[in-house]
């Protein structure tokens, strides 16, 4: 067992005929994910990925004809909000948005609408979901992960790979790896995913990978302290980041003296979380706690 995606996932790829969409659709197929449909407006009736995936003009058609139950979005930033809304309106319960660069106000509106429909959104600006050996939805490289008892949740992309790779190298497998995305507004935050891991019988240990900016790690710490029984190990990127300078994506900035790594580490440690000094220390801490 795992969370969010598994062998039963029937995946729809929005933007499947674009450069990124097609590339990753192939990667996901190769990993064994059931990619059942693609959507690109105006290209309905074509086939993508060497004829393996039918393309539809609208998500609604794709859902009606293929019973897709999860969507992953690779369309450009200015079209991505509509793509998310279209998937939600078509009744897709789980949407993963890989697209980066979506304006914050657009995401505020999208999230307010999704709150009405009850749709779960992962991202945007996220690497997606990977349940080793079962399904890969997004852009995480599949070969770095292996099945096992550790749930991984992260705001970062490549840093997640680094840590998953280190776990795998030490023989520690994962239930599901979840990249929630690094933007200020994301559809699913740490607490949501921690709750899923807490209730997932296969997950025995959780690794949380945070970074500077916002207070999602602090909220996670409060949740861990009050609601979680499983051990959590964390790493927070950006101890050396200077205040007021944006570190890459829009979320990673220390504003008005808050959102620092020090504050986040303190909050997590107070909640009983082991916080690693550097990423490759994580496997060791996980082993020690298990």
């Amino acid at each position: 067992m795992a969370i969010l995606v598994d062998k039963t996932t029937r995946l729809l790829v929005q933007g499947i005929t674009g450069r990124e969409g097609e590339f990753h659709a192939r990667q996901m197929l190769e990993y064994g994910t059931q990619v059942v449909a693609g959507v690109t407006p105006g290209k309905g009736g074509q086939w993508a990925c060497d004829g393996r995936v039918p393309v539809f003009d609208t998500v609604l058609e794709a859902v009606q004809q293929t019973e897709a139950n999860t969507s992953v979005i690779y369309v450009p930033a200015r079209f991505a909000p509509d793509a998310i809304l279209e998937a939600a309106d078509a009744g897709i319960p789980l949407i993963v948005c890989v697209t980066e660069g979506i304006p914050t106000l657009d995401m505020i509106r999208v999230c307010a609408y999704l709150a009405q429909t009850g749709t779960r959104l992962i991202g945007p600006n996220c690497p997606g979901l990977l349940t080793p050996g079962e399904a890969k939805v997004g852009i995480m490289p599949g070969h770095i992960a292996t099945p096992g008892p550790v749930g991984v949740v992260s705001r970062s992309g490549t840093l997640t790979y680094e840590i998953v790779y280190a776990l795998t190298a030490c023989g520690i497998g994962q239930t599901t790896c979840v990249g929630i995305g690094g933007d200020p507004i994301v559809g699913t935050n740490f607490v949501d995913v921690l709750e899923l891991f807490e209730h997932d019988p296969c997950t025995e240990h959780v690794v949380l990978i945070g970074e500077i900016g916002g207070n999602d790690e602090e909220l996670a710490a409060r949740f861990i302290a009050t609601q979680m029984t499983k051990p959590v190990t964390a790493f927070i990127a950006g101890r050396t980041a200077p205040p007021g300078k944006r570190m890459g994506h829009a979320g990673a900035i220390i504003e008005g003296g808050s959102g620092t790594a020090a504050e986040k580490i303190a909050a997590l440690e107070a909640a009983g979380v082991q916080v690693a000094a550097h990423p490759e220390q994580i496997p060791q801490l996980v082993t020690r706690a298990s």
């Binding site: 307010a112 916002g214 200077p242 570190m247």
Partner: protein, 383 residues
């Protein structure tokens, strides 16, 4: 993208927020002429994109032409937090009865905008939060409803404004909200919002940060960008699509992904080194962008060693290696380089680097790469 005070106030004013009469000046002469037209007393304020102007001597009152000339000259020769002052705003001085705070920010946890008001204006909101948190009042704004009069009224009452100010406060709150949403801001502040002795509300200072992701909707704002805010290297990086921040250390880093780039900096520090920069080449970078990134690093005289940390996912290690080689052929490097490439096409990448004939210190893990870079920066022999 941060806007200057004069730009922010201009945007606010276009949505009905009252601001003092003022003019922008680049020289003491212009400042004096502006002051003469506006009438004394005036306030002369440095236009720089950092906080703490007041303490740095960047804001001065002038009662006479002589004072204005002296103040403008002094301010225009300042450097504030390393930024030169190139422009001043000359504003008519207001007679202030009290100072309020009004701001609009993104509340990440609730995924909404939050309007904040306080009767304790004139100091930074973080300072108010620290010394008197109960003086900050907030209303969450549902994006589908926006700011309604009752929200403004609730805030006005909370900060103790009388009935006579309700209408003016509502108008200002609405103007701030509309400016924020129309221009896709991520922060908009009026601080202080003054109650003048004649009983009017007046936005004496304004601050606005725009969402870089939404600038495509506002191409007319590109000319508002203050390039002096950036170092030339940061500017070149931005135009190339790189995220680059200059720091004080001597180990130049090139990494794919913001989180991993920060973690790389952290690990360098952990092992006793000092990063010279944050540099994220982004996802799926092609050889050309990688070459630009490396040229930037090698052009920095402080850099004594370069560390590549690439974890291929979307980004392919062979593309990165090709970019590195292209840049090396152009700029003959004089500093040691540590390369760690793993993930997508790592084998091909390593082969390209090897075939290039340049000497690169290799590492299998981030920890190893960081140790080797720190050692190399200290002049110790490496890998």
């Amino acid at each position: 993208m941060k806007l200057h005070e004069y730009q922010s106030k201009q945007l606010f004013a276009s949505y009905g927020v009252p601001i003092p009469q003022g003019q922008l000046a680049s020289t003491p002469d212009e400042a004096c002429r502006a002051a003469g037209e506006l009438g004394y007393p005036v306030v002369i304020k440095a236009q720089v994109l950092v906080g703490g102007r007041g303490k740095a001597g960047g804001i001065r009152l002038a009662q006479t032409p002589a004072e204005a000339a002296e103040a403008a000259e002094a301010i225009l020769s300042l450097r504030i937090k390393d930024l030169p002052v190139r422009k001043v705003l000359v504003d008519q001085a207001a007679r202030i009865r009290s100072e309020l705070y009004l701001g609009l920010v993104v509340d990440r946890a609730n995924r909404q905008l939050v309007m904040m008001a306080s009767s304790e204006g004139g100091v930074e909101i973080e300072e108010i939060a620290r010394i008197k948190p109960q003086a900050i009042h907030k209303v969450s704004l549902n994006p589908f409803l926006g700011l309604r009069d009752y929200h403004a009224l609730t805030l006005a009452k909370a900060i103790g404004l009388g009935a006579e100010h309700m209408r003016a406060f509502s108008q200002i709150a609405r103007g701030l909200y509309e400016a924020f949403t129309h221009w896709d801001a991520s922060l908009a502040e009026i601080n202080p919002l003054a109650v003048t002795e004649s009983g009017e509300l007046l936005a004496l200072d304004g601050k606005m940060v725009l969402d870089d992701n939404a600038l495509f909707r506002h191409p007319e704002l590109e000319s508002w960008r203050d390039v002096d805010e950036e170092t030339p290297a940061e500017r070149e990086a931005r135009l190339a699509g790189l995220s680059y921040v200059q720091l004080d250390g001597d180990i130049g880093c090139m990494v794919n992904g913001a989180g991993l780039a920060m973690a790389t900096m952290d690990v360098i520090k952990h092992f006793g080194g000092a990063p010279a920069n944050f540099l994220d080449i982004g996802g799926g970078a092609r050889a050309e962008r990688v070459a630009t990134a490396l040229r930037l690093l090698l052009a920095d005289a402080h850099v004594r060693v370069v560390l590549f940390n690439i974890f291929g996912g979307i980004t392919r290690c062979d593309e990165v290696a090709r970019g590195i080689v292209a840049a090396l052929e152009e700029v003959q490097p004089t500093v040691p380089m540590v390369a760690r490439l793993v993930g997508t096409n790592e084998q091909e990448g390593r082969e390209i680097l090897l075939a290039s004939g340049y000497h690169l210190i290799t590492a299998a893990t981030l920890e190893e790469a960081a140790r080797k870079a720190v050692a190399a920066a200290r002049g110790e022999a490496g890998g």
